[in-house]
Amino acid sequence: ELKVEQNPLFLSMQEGKNYTIYCNYSTTSDRLYWYRQDPGKSLESLFVLLSNGAVKQEGRLMASLDTKARLSTLHITAAVHDLSATYFCAVDFDSNYQLIWGAGTKLIIKP
């Protein structure tokens, strides 16, 4: 079964702190996506990770991919309130363009 699991599902943190969101998936894939969703809004692409060891950074967010462990992480550095959102990872298995999604991590950053 194709499964994508995220943890934690909910995270409340203070501004200025660091934290990591984890995304595990069940079967080999070389393509993993991170999306951001604000309440009531659409899905905004953050990162596409294509190969083992891939690391991408944008501002305070950094994503990495370990295909051997079937694990991706989204690391938040010195969080700010504007990063409050729900973050989803999604995996493209078997190149069939069908994205399988994690449950999402709702991130609340308190001033």
């Binding site: 692409s45 294509l50 994205l99």
Partner: protein, 117 residues
Amino acid sequence: EPEVTQTPSHQVTQMGQEVILRCVPISNHLYFYWYRQILGQKVEFLVSFYNNEISEKSEIFDDQFSVERPDGSNFTLKIRSTKLEDSAMYFCASSDGSWQGGVHEQYFGPGTRLTVT
């Protein structure tokens, strides 16, 4: 910048009624998708469409659902006889299907919130 658009933004319908959700994908894109997200839950794949036919569909996409590209610009999702559990946000996405730099990226529309009463 080109974007995927969806109409309506919110649709309220009674159980048993038919609804059609409309999407205009990015103009040079060839692959089209529908996803749904029940409130507070994860995004679920429904169907992908290429070359005027369904490429993949999930278990959710049963006989109540159909998709169509009626002209060169629109991509529609029809639910024949809506049920309460069809209430969700429905996202359309499109892709050009290329693997530029190894990336095959789907671009999402703003969604249609469907409420079945």
